[in-house]
């Protein structure tokens, strides 16, 4: 999923820079769900994710003229969303973060242990993906769900390309390790 209509997105940004409101509606249609999910994964709060999604589109509305095409439109849009989100996360108090961590644990999904007992491998993978650190989850989401290249992840997250590769590699190793902890050997690493 998540393939982007690169040229079309760039064209939309040009129209948005010219204050074409229809263009921002179309861009919204293309990106709102993906951005919302990307942000929600980071902030773990639906209301905040909605607000940040809205703010991302507002910023796109205001600064679309600055898009120079050095990166893809999609990468530029995700980078705006991420920067806004990280900025908000950094401002949050420890107390808020503790509450959110508690909420994150209150998940309807099976734990790795329960999924392993049921023999539900797909559920087990989901449960273990949920246990990855946010740093690892972010890169896994960008690569697998948002289908970003190494270069694109590097530009969105603001880390060197080699770090993208090693971070993904270690996220996958950690995933296998979490599965091994509940007795499921993936045969790798």
């Amino acid at each position: 999923m998540a393939s982007s209509n690169g040229n079309g997105d760039s064209e939309l940004l040009k129209r948005i820079a010219a204050k074409d409101r229809v263009a921002v509606e179309v861009l919204y249609g293309r990106y709102n769900v993906r951005l919302y999910r990307f942000i929600l994964r980071l902030v773990r709060n639906e209301a905040m994710a909605e607000e940040l999604t809205n703010e991302t589109f507002m910023e796109i509305w205001q600064v679309a003229g600055k898009f120079e095409g050095r990166s893809s439109a999609s990468t530029w849009i995700f980078a705006i969303a991420r920067n806004k989100t990280i900025s908000v996360i950094r401002k949050r108090s420890d107390e808020e973060l503790d509450d959110e961590r508690a909420m994150a644990i209150e998940d309807d999904a099976d734990t790795p242990e329960v999924a392993a007992q049921k023999g539900d491998k797909a559920a087990l993978i989901r449960a273990c993906l949920n246990r990855l650190s946010s740093e690892h989850r972010e890169v896994v989401d960008l690569v697998y769900y948002h289908e970003k290249s190494i270069k694109e992840v590097s530009e969105i997250v603001g880390i060197p390309e080699n770090t993208v590769k090693t971070r993904m590699f270690h996220a996958r190793k950690k995933l296998s390790g979490l599965m091994a902890e509940v007795g499921v050997d993936r045969g790798w690493p």
Binding site: M1, N5, N7, G8, E11, K19, R21, V22, V24, E25, V26, Y28, G29, R30, N32, V33, Y36, R37, L40, R41, E46, A49, E50, T53, N54, F57, M58, W61, Q62, A109, K121, A122, I125, R126, L129, N130, S133, E135, V140, D141, V143, Y144, Y145, E147, K148, S149, I150, E152, K165, T166, R167, M168, F169, H170, R172, L175, S176, R186, G187, W188
Partner: protein, 230 residues
């Protein structure tokens, strides 16, 4: 866990690191060739391809569980834009009905969107968002209207419907349908394409309104949505 200060990866690890992108197809040609050569020499590593596919499926399923923004989010965004920048079109420069329709419709007919195969889905979803906000009243937030809408509906007697036109409907077809039904657009487009349409100067009965809605919906080549205006 950070990735700073890790030991230098071995040549085989360097290749294995590329496998996720090899599977998603988001890899450059040189790296793809490196991976393929490595897989030829180390067939046992092919097992990793299946592991990555499992991980992709799991990641996708988790993302789907996250849902989507609530109905009305687009309306709120457009309201915020209007609050920041002012009305889209100054009242003194308000376009004619035909101009309003033709300004909206080319978006649906954009070749780029058709090629992407998403135009209809995007805009019908966008319409649904606004329909949710206007008809269902679910979010209770601000409702977006363009500058040319304001005040017009209050002074209009008779029976009115909310109508969204099909993404493929032309202005000519819409105008013909309105003429055939002796209907008049009194405001819109609101948000993502809903027009308020007066279908009679008189207040029709509920049964007559239902019949009128059915008649419009039967023209699915032109009408994507019709409901009684609140």
């Amino acid at each position: 866990m950070t990735d700073d200060g890790l030991k230098t990866p071995s040549p085989s690890e360097e290749i294995e690191m590329l496998i996720p992108w090899y599977v998603t197809g988001r890899i450059d040609d040189a790296d793809r060739e490196r991976v393929e050569r490595y897989l030829e020499d180390h067939p046992e590593v092919r097992d990793q391809l299946a592991l990555v596919r499992e991980e992709i499926a799991g990641s996708g399923a988790l993302a789907e569980e996250l849902g989507a923004p609530r109905a009305g989010a687009l309306g709120r965004l457009l309201a915020d834009i209007e609050a920041a920048d002012g009305p889209a079109i100054a009242r003194a420069q308000a376009p004619s009905l035909t101009e309003r329709l033709t300004a909206w419709l080319p978006v649906f007919n954009s070749p780029a969107l058709q090629m992407a195969g998403i135009a209809a889905a995007v805009l019908i979803v966008a319409q649904a968002v606004v329909i949710g906000a206007l008809v269902g009243g679910r979010d209770g937030g601000a409702q977006y209207e363009t500058a040319s809408d304001g005040g017009e509906t209050i002074a209009q007697p008779g029976t009115r419907l909310l109508v969204a036109f099909s993404p493929t409907a032309t202005a000519k077809a819409i105008t013909a349908l309105l003429s055939e039904k002796d209907a008049t657009i009194v405001s819109g487009p609101k948000g993502s394409g809903l027009f308020e349409v007066r279908i009679s100067d008189k207040q029709l009965s509920e049964a007559e309104i239902e019949r009128a809605i059915s008649d419009l919906k039967a023209r699915s080549d032109i009408v994507a949505f019709a409901a009684k205006a609140q």
